[in-house]
């Protein structure tokens, strides 16, 4: 009796493992055959479901002589960022909490604002509707930031892969207006990643 139970149990386990492997092979095959189309469909779905127009932009007071005279509240939208090369057109919020990043692009509060002539740091998720296509960016591509007080155009001059604790690779300075935008790398990671992909750009107009 005991032998029979043992044999049955063994057979059951083997059958379960075989069934599991068959399902995995099927899933893998479908992914290989139709992966690109699945990604495109999801991207399209995300594009239409992400509400980019709902948030009102914060009005900022700007003076030609003194620069910014007011600042947005922490967590408020104050600009739009457009990267034509990767079809990105996203809201920019002041602050960099995870809650903010769920809505769009964050602005590191320890950096300057567009028009202030210093370092500006933005960051966004590497999800399909944000910065998944960062790898397509090249030197010479343009980034446009539109605020209520002006439009700022930046030209990419460098792209770097850094570790998460290399914050010194995004230096804060006030001599030149540099926009640095980063996202996590690898771009399709599952789970935590310790690398960041940074795009460096200079104000040209």
């Amino acid at each position: 009796m005991q032998n029979r139970i043992s044999k049955t149990l063994k057979a059951t386990i083997i059958n379960l493992i075989v069934a599991f492997l068959v399902i995995l092979i099927i899933i893998g095959g479908v992914r290989l055959a139709f992966g690109q189309k699945i990604d495109e469909a999801v991207t399209l779905l995300n594009y239409f479901t992400l509400d980019l127009s709902d948030k009102k932009m914060t009005e900022i007071v700007y003076d030609q002589q003194y620069g910014l005279k007011s600042y947005p509240e922490y967590g408020a939208k104050y600009a739009d960022i457009e990267i034509e090369k990767i079809d990105a057109n996203l809201p920019v919020y002041f602050g960099s909490t995870l809650e903010i990043l769920k809505d769009g692009v964050g602005h590191d509060s320890g950096s300057y604002f567009p028009g202030e002539g210093g370092s500006i740091i933005y960051m966004g998720h590497n999800s399909k509707n944000v910065f998944r296509r960062f790898s397509e960016l090249q030197v010479g591509d343009m980034i446009k930031v539109t605020t209520t007080y002006g439009e700022f155009n930046y030209e990419i001059y460098d792209l770097k892969l850094i570790d998460e604790d290399q914050a010194d690779m995004l230096p804060i300075q006030r001599d030149e207006e540099i926009l640095m935008v980063y996202t996590c790398y690898p771009f399709n990671n599952i789970g935590y990643t310790t690398q960041r992909y940074v795009v460096y750009s200079k104000l040209v107009k």
Partner: protein, 178 residues
Amino acid sequence: MKKILVSALFVVVILAMSTMVKAASAEDAINYVKTQGGSYITESDLVRIERHFKQYPITEEQGDQLKAKVDAAKAVIDNSGKTVIKDLSKEDKDKLRSIANEAAAILDLNLVFKGDTCEIYKDGKLIETAFLKNNQILVYTGNDEETTNKNVLAISLVAIVALATGALYVGKRARSAK
């Protein structure tokens, strides 16, 4: 606790700078903070400080009160006999934290310490978030939590379906064998 001290020092130096704004140009004040803060004050902190004083000017009385808090904080550190902040006793670290909170109250600010960050509130609104590590970690911008959870859920569902299919198959075989 080191994180609390850095935050405390950050707030106290912010407030100390406020006493210099009236007597000196903004440039001089920032240089003062740089000198006083040493390696604990980063360039990012200075940007935040600069922005804060542009938006929230203070009275002379508040400046005097804050200067007293700076002196109190310095006294705690000097009397400890320690040269490295992380070596301070728990009691001294608690004192610094308390001084930081008192200094914040003078400006109607509230400090909320959360893990590696310190949130600064004014009139119930979040006005700033300061990182408490000297070597700041860049914000995590990977697949957001929702996407990662969805991926994990998808994989789990596949596994459950596979096992259920397998179990059904095994059950059928067992019945046909009888």
